[in-house]
Amino acid sequence: MAEIILDGVRKSYGKVEVIKGVDWKINDGEFVVIVGPSGCGKSTLLRMIAGLEAITQGEISIGDTVVNELEPSERNIAMVFQNYALYPHMSVYQNMAYGLKIKKIPKDEIDKRVQRAAEILELEEYLDRPPRQLSGGQRQRVAMGRAIVRQPAVFLFDEPLSNLDAKLRVQMRLEIKKLQEDLGITSVYVTHDQVEAMTLGHRLAVLNGGVVEQLGTPIEVYEKPATVFVAGFIGSPSMNLLDAELDDKGGAVTLAGGAKISLPEPLGAQGGRSVTFGVRPEHLKDIGGDANSLRLSLNVRVIEQLGADTLVHGTLGENGTELVARLEGIRAMAPGDVLDLNMAAKSIHLFDSKTGRRLG
C-alpha cells in the first residue's frame, strides 16, 4: 500500500523534451488512468515510475521512499505490459514464480501465492502449460498473475488490453476493475481507449505533448473539460468546437456562421474576446427544449444510423461550420433537410481561443 508522488518530473531524450514537468499525488489505493494521443508520453511517464526509464529531472516517491535511483525490482511495483512479455520457455506456474524465486522466497510460500493468484484469475488448469498454448485473454491473465504474486505496493499497466478482441476487452476490463477494488492496490493504467478511460479509474489524467492537461474524476473531465484539447479528446464522437466571438459584456456569443446565442450566466469581465464554443453531439436535441434552451438550425448533410442512435452531420447555415448531433433512436430524415436543434444552457462550454483554457 502506498501513495505515488511525482514532483516536477521531466524527461528528455537528447534535446527533445518528452515529459514537461508533471506534479501529481496519487493516493493510497487509488486507480488512476492516463489517457492521451499516441506519442504524448504516457508510456514514458509510466516507465519512469517503474524505473525502466531514467528520470531527467524531478523526483518520484512511492510510499515514503524517493525511488529515483532504485532498480525496478527494488521499487515494490509490478508491471503488466501490452504484449504480456511472458517468458516463452517457462510454464505458467514458472512465469508467475520467477520473480519470487529470485527474491529467495521459500518454496511453499511461492506455491501458496501462485495457487492463490491462479484461483483468482481462474488459471488453475493451465499452470503447467507454456504461454504459447494459451489464448490472448489467458496470457493476459498470466501477466496479471505475475504482477499479483509479487504483492506489490503499486500496479502499473501499459495498455494491457489493446491486443485483445473487443469482446474479451470488455470482459477483462471488468475483471481488472474488480481485481483492483478487491486488492486495493494503488494502480496507474495507461490507455488510449475512451471507454477504459471513463470507466476504470477513480481519476483520469489527460496527457498531451508531455503536459497533464487535466486531472480529475472521469465525470469532472467529461462535464468540465479544462482545455479545448481535453474537450475534443474525451467523448465519442468528439465535442463540436466552433469559433465564436464573445461580446463585450460577456453575455452572448456570435458563431462564425452568424448565429447568436445568449449565455444563461453572463461572463462579465471575461467578455470581448475570441472564444471556442463547444457542445457535445449527445447534448444536441431535436425535440423538447424549453424557453431557456439555446437554439441552432442545422442543414443536414450526412446521416449515420447506428441503431441505438443516429449521427447527423451538417452545417450551420448554408455553408457554415460543420456540426454533429447524436440523436436517440432511429430517425427518418434526408440530406438537405433543415433541423432545429436545441441544447440546455448548462451543456455548453467556452474556451479562450488563445490559451485554450476554459472560461467560466
Partner: protein, 282 residues
Amino acid sequence: MIEHRPIITVLAHLTLILGIAIVAFPIWVTFVAASHDAVRMTQVPLPMWPGDQFFVNLNKAMFEGIAGAGGIPVGMMMLNSLVVALMIATGKIVISLLSAFAIVYFKFPFRMGFFWMIFLTLMLPVEVRILPTFEVVANLGMLNSFWGLSIPLIASATATFMFRQVFLTVPDEMLEAARVDGAGPMRFFWDILLPLSRTNIAALFVILFIYGWNQYLWPLLITTDASMFTVVMGIKQMLESAEQTTEWHLIMMTTLLAMLPPVVVVLTMQRMFVKGLTETDK
C-alpha cells in the same frame, strides 16, 4: 507435390536414387577396401564386394596404427580430434554468446567499434593469419597441446552475428519484465536468453563440431609430437610417409572411422538442428 501421376513419382525416385548412388559410391569403395587385406588391395581389378578382414583391420588400425607412418593408433588420434572438436565448438559457442550478449544488451564506449572489429575478423580465417598466429602460439608455449590446437580457432564472427540476431528478436519487454522481476544481467542471460537460444546453440554446435573435426592445416602445422596428431591430418601422414607399399586397407579403415563422429553428431542432433535453422518461435 500436388500431382500424383505415377510416372512423375517414378522419375522422382530414380533421380533421388541416382543422387544417393553418386554420393554413396565412394563411401562404399572405402568400406570395401577397409575389409580386405593388404595383398588383395595391390591386385587389379580392385574388389567391389566386402572381404572378411574388416574386424582384423579395425583392430589393427584402432590400436596399432600404421607402422610406416609412426605407428600411432587411430583410436588415439580420434580421441585427440574429439577433444579438439569439442573444445572448438564449445569455446566458439561460449565466446560468441557472451560477446553477442555484451553487444546487444550493454552500452559501453566504442560499442560499435568493437562490433566492427569482430566483423573484420570474418576476413581473417586461420589460413590468412597462419604465420603470425603460429608465432603467437609458439611463444606462448602451446605447440603440441590441445590449447594450441583449439584456441586460435575459437573466435568466431559468424556465431557472434547469429546470436546477435537471435537476441535482437527477443522483445525489449522481456528484458524489462525480467528487470521488474529482479533478474540481474547474468541471471537474465542464464534464465531467459540461453533457453531461448537453445535450438540455435544446438544447430551451431553441429556445424562447429564438424568444422573443428575437419581441421587439417592448423593441426599439421603446430603438432610435431605424434601423440597430439588428429585423425584428419593423420590420414594424410599415412599416405605420405609410407616407406614400403601404401597400406590402403588400413588407410581406408581410418577414413571410415574419421567419418563416423560427424555422422553420429548430425544424426543425434538432427531434429534440434533443423529446428534451430528454421523455427522462429519467440
